[in-house]
């Protein structure tokens, strides 16, 4: 199977078969990652640079581990601390790095579209690790793999995405991916955080969580992105938790075998009850982290194959 993309900038550009190809390959890496020896040479000789213009612990670690397990030379650059402070533009930074001949560039940026812009200016493969409120494709892919493994399929499921949809790139990428795979999607949250325009993507919108969670197979919680909010979107965290925080009572509306997901980092007691998050019978939050490494390995392998072919 040929992966006909130079970069992984968003789910928007992927087809159903692209998505399936990444997930199928990732399954192989899930197995490999559970062995005591977890190393391959798929990316050996290639240089991977992680450029994070925004704080990240888990995504950056996940990409770093994925690259190292595949044998790439991985370098992390904390961009907040470096040239940006000295007034260098994004394009200049990209051109500078480009001159060092990296093969894979993993980029996170606080502005929507910034990763697309950067990808236009470099010769290597670019992976979007989250741009503003736009897309976070590897998160959506790891969520998809988690769902597929837990539910045995990735189609004809009722999936609820709950909380701060407006500020979430995770929600956008998931909405696109799960829609492409032909699932029914519900968006649940206060109207200030779930704008009506999302209905145009074919999602059903609920502002009552108990109603919205009825008979769903998957409950995907989102983090309340306090750092992206300018002005009051909710009256208080305690009222938010009361109306939209996931607890056992609200979850009882969902199907008995419904799974609970969260992209992390969690605000316990704000959008999700701590005990529920740790309930291994319902919560797949730890599996999501595990799938993250495998999915990123798969995505980088597919992009690297194209690089080697072109060389």
């Amino acid at each position: 199977m040929r992966f006909a993309h130079r970069h992984l900038l968003g789910i928007e550009h992927l087809s159903q078969s692209d998505i399936t190809a990444i997930l199928d390959l990732a399954e192989k890496y899930v197995d490999m990652n559970r062995q005591s020896t977890k190393h391959s040479d798929v990316l050996s000789g290639l240089t991977q640079i992680n450029m994070f213009f925004e704080n990240s612990t888990r995504t950056q670690a996940s990409f770093e581990i994925a690259g190292k397990r595949l044998g790439a030379d991985v370098m992390n650059m904390a961009m907040q601390a470096s040239s940006i402070k000295k007034g260098e533009t994004l394009i200049d930074t990209a051109m500078t790095l480009n001159a060092m001949h990296p093969d894979l560039l993993v980029v996170r940026h606080p502005h929507s579209g910034a990763v697309d812009l950067l990808a236009q200016k470099v010769n290597c493969a670019v992976l979007n690790a989250g741009d503003g409120k736009h897309e976070h494709p590897t998160q959506a892919l790891l969520d998809a793999l988690t769902i597929r493994r837990a539910k045995g399929r990735l189609h004809r499921l009722n999936i609820a995405i709950c909380g701060d949809v407006a500020h979430s790139r995770v929600a956008r990428s998931n909405l696109i991916l799960l829609g492409k795979m032909e699932n029914r999607i519900r968006l649940i949250g206060p109207p200030t955080l779930v704008p009506n325009q999302f209905a145009e993507f074919g999602a059903e919108i609920f502002d009552d969580m108990n109603e919205g969670l009825k008979d769903v197979d998957v409950v995907m919680m989102l983090r309340l992105q306090k750092e992206r909010m300018d002005g009051g979107f909710i009256p208080s965290e305690r009222e938010y938790y009361h109306r939209y925080g996931l607890d056992a009572a609200k979850l009882s509306q969902a199907k008995p075998d419904a799974i609970v997901m969260h992209p992390g980092p969690m605000n316990r007691g704000v959008e999700i009850d701590g005990t529920l998050a740790d309930d291994i019978n319902r919560s797949v939050i730890q599996e999501q982290v595990e799938m993250g490494v495998a999915v990123r390995m798969a995505a980088m392998e597919l992009l690297a194959r194209n690089l080697r072919e072109a060389a």
């Binding site: 533009t89 994004l90 502005h111 929507s112 579209g113 697309d116 812009l117 503003g132 956008r172 325009q197």
Partner: protein, 426 residues
């Protein structure tokens, strides 16, 4: 060239709304006669127009020339060349330079620069408040004496209604035209695109089109209060049109313009974060665009402007949210407007009513028409010649046009200011 006779011309007369083959006689910089059919025997230099269109030169309200402050983006010289090449015979310049044009002294600098370097007419506007900060009104009387034809803070909305109402009241006493940017400033703060499906998909900060109506509603109330003479720089949404219509019906001294970009492009043109399509206010939905075209056709919207805003590459090669707003348009105004003609939506007399006659009238000028005695500011153009726009062929110092690489139809053949040829297509 004291006497010129244009023959075999397709005369576009916005005053009479006619589009007919005829001749036009110019003497000492003014139009002396015109008519249909065969020309009288002349004692003049004859220009055979070969059946091409001859229309009044465009009067463009709201052109940004970046002197003082950012001459590398656009100087009076480059703007003048661009205007002449675009058939724009009068540019009405914006005061949003750095520093802003808010004193008679800085206005005199502009006038001097313009006279020295520009082949077309330049009429300067001045800021309505000092530094365009919305706190204290400028010396409206002195600035008028120095030649300011209108007063505007450009895209800075005067949020303090007390300040704005006083400025409007004072301007009324001076007989000064105030041009404002109707927009609710807090709702639109930080917005890069219009809210809707596209904004959601791209994850960009967005403003509801309702912010324009809210801004216009407020300004109309202030007009009722003060009786000032007012022009809205850009009306771009369907929702604002009923308010404008009511205000006109109620006899307020209000006119409105729109930009060529809002008439010919929509929000989807931004596509993959193309910053050359970032303008202020942001591009709207297709429904809004159609409503605005219809409003130009009926005359509810009076004027079309280029909103020429030069930006250098550094200001545009940034993530969309951080990139500067604005597009150059002096040279693309006419070809873009002709898209509406070729689409069968607006005829040529209607286009020139909005691009020449109405702006001239609003500023009290006698140009913008083909009538006897009017200045011979003319544009000769072939509405049919096809071309693909190459932005590097533009005469502006900045080439931030959204039409780069697009197919267009219609080119200026020659431009005349006071009877003198200031541009001829090579």
């Amino acid at each position: 060239m004291n006497n010129t006779l244009f023959t075999n011309a397709r005369l576009i007369d916005p005053e009479t709304g006619t589009d007919s083959l005829g001749w036009l006689h110019v003497s000492d910089g003014r139009i002396t006669a015109h008519g249909e059919g065969a020309a009288p025997t002349p004692e003049a230099q004859v220009v055979d127009c070969g059946g091409q269109c001859l229309a009044p030169g465009i009067v463009d309200i709201g052109v940004k020339v970046c002197e003082p402050g950012e001459r590398h983006k656009e100087s009076y010289k480059s703007a003048g060349l661009a205007a002449a090449a675009g058939g724009v015979t009068t540019i009405v310049t914006r005061p949003d330079t750095s520093p802003a044009i808010d004193t008679p002294e800085s206005l005199e600098f502009v006038t001097r620069r313009a006279q020295a370097d520009t082949p077309v007419n330049v009429l300067p506007m001045a800021a309505l408040t000092k530094g365009r900060e919305g706190r204290e009104m400028t010396e409206i009387g002195f600035l008028q004496d120095a030649g300011a034809v209108a007063f505007t803070d450009c895209d800075h909305v005067i949020a303090n209604t007390k300040v704005f109402s006083r400025a409007l009241t004072y301007a009324r006493a001076c007989g000064a035209l105030v041009i404002a940017h109707p927009q609710e400033p807090i709702l639109s703060n930080g917005a890069a695109v219009t809210s809707g499906k596209f904004a959601v998909l791209r994850g960009l900060p967005a403003v509801s089109p309702m912010a324009e109506r809210m801004g216009l509603d407020r300004d109309i109330a202030l007009l009722e209060m003060t009786g000032a003479t007012y022009h809205a720089d850009q009306i771009t949404t369907a929702r604002a049109l009923p308010a404008l219509e009511r205000a006109k019906r109620n006899g307020l001294d209000i006119t409105a313009g729109t930009s060529i970009h809002h008439l010919t492009l929509n929000e989807l043109d931004v596509a993959d974060y193309r910053t050359f399509f970032k303008v202020k206010p942001p591009l709207r939905s297709e429904d809004d665009r159609q409503a605005v075209i219809e409003a130009v056709r009926t005359g509810l919207i009076d004027t079309i402007s280029s909103m020429h805003t030069p930006q250098d590459e550094e200001s545009k090669r940034l993530p969309f949210e951080e990139a500067a707003s604005g597009a150059v348009a002096l040279e693309t105004l006419l070809p873009a407007a002709l898209r509406l003609y070729h689409a069968g939506q607006l005829d040529l007399p209607t286009l020139f009513r909005a691009m020449a006659l109405n702006p001239a009238k609003r500023l009290g000028l006698d140009s913008g028409r083909l009538s006897e005695g009017a200045p011979a500011d003319l544009v000769l153009f072939d509405p049919d010649v096809p071309f693909v726009l190459d932005r590097f062929s533009l005469k502006s110092k900045s080439q931030n046009t959204p039409f780069d690489g697009q197919r267009m139809q219609g080119k200026v053949t020659a431009t005349f200011v006071a009877g003198q040829e200031v541009y001829r297509r090579p």
